[in-house]
Structures are given as structure tokens and as C-alpha cells.
Point group: C2
Chain length 343, copies 2
């Protein structure tokens, strides 16, 4: 596929213009566009550039209220409950993690539960954010039903991305995993390349596991990661997020029908371990773990074992230098939304 | 295989005698034996009856100090840090979750981070405990290295079980998942039956994925659940548990060499949602989710879709009625440790 490379600043600026023309206040358009551009920078176009059109469509449908902001509604000890008021999910989530890390720096730890918010795009964003603020973090979201539970043929659970971050001077550790083995974005990209998935990613029309992305797109029976395990974890993350925040479960998000993640719930936990332990102890725990991974015997000679987030850091560095690879059609469409003529 | 069924009370009493003869105080032996018996009752012999001999061996080696107890060492807001003093892991973990739920009932939520503890046996135990106390809970442990990271051939990460519990009047929801697709216990049981695993569970000597349990036992290359996902999650759970508690990472547990989970770390989070939300709201969130799962179209006609923990509840009920199936050889050995003559 022809993938032109665009500089980060140009990508950010173009998305910013598109958001502003869709009715977002300039400061909010800039902040939101930056997160989309950073996701593309990290190699996650599916929740960066490629998601701009759909987000603007949601604004036009009034599924996202561009002017609404998340506000605190209840506080009890280390737990704060916020309402996202169906504002832009990215801005709500950034604010939530910002607040959680603020509280963690004051109290050692904090949990912020956010309800009635909208799609936060790439979950990893908030892990990197917390790590940049020097905090460990765990966060996740529920979603509408987009996956069959284990043993089911029909979609009935979310893919509920789960993120864990640990700060590190020479490159943070960030895990960003959805409860499906592959995203629909990954299926599409693999199909367009005419390739198969590296491992089975769902069921075909005969109910057999398959690595053929088109067959899975046809049945919509994507596979929970680890079979029954990812399925069960999706159910539990959904319930904990909804009940902590007092918001809607996946089943209730389904009924509302406000698009992907319309009125979903999220949990943001932040920890400042330096409130409890010495910087030396923490550094050695992290570095010792990184050393242990790097010293492992690789399964395939020459392929180093990576810590979570390490590959993202490599992609980020490469894309900062060479520009961010984008789909030509998507890039032209977003330029159009920004009021620019074809490149 | 010949699996005699033993009544719960007899199983508990026999294990209790074995623990007492190994040097545990009577009240501690009874409490610890009850947890082992309950794991077997729930169908998890691998961490119930079948683990009694190894636990007693650890006592004799002084890897577990039968008289030591977990004590609080630091408290900062909602987070308490405890030291397990290498006491019996089951008793330390029960105490930790008891304290976490106490605090959650007072403050809405609490996190207890426990370091320097020993094997907690079945992680699900503490999820069921929290749910019985009316709390939602998330808990996990790190372990010694027992699995290759994704992309590695050598063991370098733990399988770090992760538990989430949500209380429910008509049967709690409890997820109990290790970061490996199958446990070594499951490989052994499958091999002894002359069967294959339902899905690939590791790599054979040629480095190919295989469902042959013996081939995986030979290479010790068990598969992380969800391939790279379970591997990454194991790394992150390890770091968060160690750093929150100020204890040892998997890499450091490895160096200590005090057996399985010797001086490991655990995190116990408990939430009392009734401090924030009405019982009606909570009930409907949970029941709506259970209804959604039960209403899903099954992949195989007649096989209902289950919520996490539902199968355990069915096994528990059956075993309470019919007795608990046990391996004959293991049962005789534990009877021997209890000072009983062969049955």
C-alpha cells in the first residue's frame, strides 16, 4: 500500500483544523488533535488519524457534545466519581488521569471513576500520560458489545481495553491490551494486504477458528484473547467500571445506541510509589525486570525480547524522524475536513 | 482414572491433621486446611488437596515459617503496606483481604499491598472471600519465573494470577486467571488421561505451537494467554505488585530460590460500592449483565453462555452433594501425613 509519511506537526495541525471546523473550541481542538496525532505517531492510526472522520460524524450526530466537560460528582476517600457529560472522550480521559495523578502525588494513590463519557480512542494514551507524570497507573474502559463472549455466537461483551503503566527514565513500560485478540482495524489492514493473521483471530461461517481476516469480518465472531480468559476479564472489567462510577454497563450502553462507546465508563488508578519507597528501590525493581527480559533466550535468534511499550518507543522514534506513515485516502479525507485542497 | 469422592468435612479434617502434625498451631492449621479443602470442593485440586504435600515440604525446608504472621508496616491514605514475614501464604492472604474489605466498608475502597509472603494457593479464594463480605475486589500475585515471555525460549516471567470479584446474591461473579493459557497441573492431568489440550498450550522441541501436553512439559515453554498479551500483563502485574508493596519482583524472587512464590508480593483491592450507589442500581447493573450473557446465542446449541464463576458454583454444588473427587494416590499420601492408616 502507498503510505506517504507526514511530519508530526503537520498531522497535528491538520487534525486540529478539522476539529475546529467541526465546532470544537480552539484549545480543545488542539488538545484533542494532539492525542490523535500522538496515537498515529506511535503506530496506532486506527485510533489516531483514521478515527478523525468518525469522531466528527459523532459530533454532527450529537453523540458527542463538543462543549461538555467532565465534572466531579462524588468523592469518598481515595475514590472520586466524575460525570463525563458525553463530552469528547479523549479530553475527559486526559482530565481524569490528570486528576488521578494529582491526587496520587498528594496521597500516594487515587482512583477516579468516570461515567457517561465517550470513546477515549487509544487507551495507551492515558498510561503514557501517567508515566510521564511519574506515576504508575491502571486504567480501563467498557465499550458497547463488539465481541461474542466465550461460548457465544452473538456479540454480547465489550473488548474493554486495559492499560498498565510503570514510569521509567529510559522509556516507560506501558501495556495496552484490548480483550479481543485482534481489533477490527487489524483485521482490515491484514485483509487489505492480502495476508493471514499470525494466529487465529476468530471464527468462520462454519464455526471453526480461522486466521482469515475476511472470514472473521463476515461472521463478526472475533476471538477473545486467551479464549475464555479475555472473555471473562471483559465481563468483570465492565462491571467494575460501571459500578464504581455509577454508570452504564456494556448491556446498557448497547441499549442507548449512541455509537461506539457512547456513555461508557472508565476507571483511572494512579500510584505515586515514591511516597512509600525510595527512588533507588523503585529503579532497581524496574531495571532488574527489564534486564531479565532482555537477557532471556530469544525464541528466534536475533529477535530481542521486549518489555511492554518498547516497540512503541522504537516506532515513535522512527516516525518522529521519518514522518508518520498514513493511508493516502484517509489523509486526503481529513485534509478535506480541515478545509485543505488535495495534497 | 479412579477418583474416589470424599466428603468436604472429611477432606478438611484430614488436611487439618496433616498441617497440625507438620507444626502448625491448631487454629492456623484449621483455617489453612479449610482453604485447601474449599479449593478442592470448587474443582481446583491442583491448589487444594494436591498441594498439601508440597506445602508441608516447604514448612520442613523452612521456606514457610508456620508461626509468622503478616503485619502492617506503612499506611498512606487508602493504601496499606504489609509484610508477610514468609508466613503461610494462605493465612497472610486471607488476613490481607479481610483487612482490605474492612477498610473498604469504612472508606469505600482500600488497597493492601503485601510483600514477603508465600504461595497463596488458589487466587480465586480471595475473590470469593471479598464477594462473601459484600465487596468488589481485584487482587493478584507475582510468582517466580515459570513461563517464557513472548518471544523468549527461557522462563523469565511469572504466571501471576489475576482475580476480579463482584458480589451477587444468587451467586458471585469471580474471575480467576493465570497469565499462562494452561497450568502445569492442567498439562499433567491431560497427559495422564491420554488426551490433547483443547487449544495449543505451548511450544514443542521444534518451536512449534502444540496441543500435546507432554511435549510442552518437556520444553517448559508454556504459552502466555493471548500470546503477547498475557506475557505483557504478567510483566506489568509483577512490577505493580512489587513496587506497591516494596517487595521483590519475579526476577528477585528467582534469585532467592525459596520455592514456588517464596517471598512474593500481592495486591488486594476492595471496594464497597454501596458506599456510593444504591443497592438497586448495583443489583440491576449485575443482573442486566448476567441476563445479557445468558441471552446470547450459544456457539454450540444447548451449551449456555456462563458468567465468570458460574461453572465453579455448579461444581461446588455437585461436590457438596456427591463428595469431592480426589486422586487416590494423593489422598492416601495426605492421609499418611495426617497419621491415618490407608483407607
Amino acid at each position: 500500500m502507498d503510505m506517504p509519511r507526514i511530519a508530526f506537526e503537520e498531522l497535528w495541525e491538520t487534525i486540529r483544523s478539522a476539529f475546529e471546523r467541526a465546532g470544537m473550541r480552539p484549545d480543545k481542538a488542539a488538545a484533542c488533535a494532539r492525542i490523535h496525532a500522538e496515537s498515529s505517531l506511535d503506530g496506532v492510526n486506527s485510533h489516531g488519524l483514521n478515527r478523525v472522520e468518525r469522531f466528527i460524524d459523532y459530533i454532527h450526530r450529537r453523540w458527542v457534545d463538543v462543549d461538555a466537560e467532565a465534572v466531579p460528582v462524588q468523592s469518598l476517600g481515595a475514590l472520586e466519581i466524575w460525570d463525563g457529560n458525553l463530552g469528547p472522550g479523549v479530553l475527559n480521559a486526559v482530565r481524569a488521569m490528570e486528576r488521578a495523578t494529582e491526587l496520587a502525588k498528594r496521597d500516594g494513590m487515587a482512583i477516579l471513576a468516570l461515567r457517561n463519557t465517550t470513546h477515549w480512542m487509544r487507551g495507551g494514551t492515558y498510561g503514557w500520560q501517567a508515566a510521564e507524570a511519574g506515576c504508575m497507573a491502571i486504567c480501563w474502559t467498557n465499550t458497547e458489545s463488539c465481541m461474542p463472549a466465550w461460548g457465544a455466537r452473538s456479540e454480547c461483551i465489550g473488548n474493554n481495553p486495559f492499560i498498565v503503566a510503570v514510569p521509567r527514565k529510559d522509556g516507560h513500560l506501558v501495556l495496552d491490551m484490548a480483550m479481543s485478540q485482534y481489533s477490527y482495524g487489524r483485521l482490515q489492514v491484514t485483509r487489505l494486504k492480502g495476508e493471514r493473521l499470525p494466529y487465529p483471530g476468530g471464527f468462520d461461517a462454519e464455526g471453526e477458528l480461522t486466521d482469515d481476516p475476511a472470514a472473521i469480518e463476515a461472521t463478526r465472531r472475533i476471538l477473545p484473547t486467551g479464549f475464555w480468559k479475555g472473555s471473562g476479564m471483559a465481563v468483570m472489567l465492565d462491571l467494575v467500571a460501571a459500578i464504581l462510577s455509577g454508570g452504564r454497563t456494556t448491556a446498557e450502553v448497547d441499549r442507548l445506541g449512541k455509537g461506539s462507546c457512547g456513555s461508557c465508563c472508565q476507571v483511572f488508578m494512579a500510584f505515586d510509589p515514591q511516597r512509600h519507597h525510595s527512588a533507588e528501590y523503585i529503579r532497581e525493581a524496574v531495571e532488574g525486570t527489564v534486564r531479565q527480559l532482555h537477557a532471556a533466550v530469544p525464541a528466534h535468534e536475533g529477535n530481542a525480547v521486549r518489555y511492554p511499550g518498547e516497540r512503541t518507543l522504537l516506532t515513535r522514534a522512527e516516525n518522529l524522524k521519518k514522518g508518520i506513515p498514513v493511508d493516502k485516502g484517509v489523509w486526503e479525507a481529513v485534509r478535506g475536513l480541515a478545509g485543505l485542497s488535495p495534497a
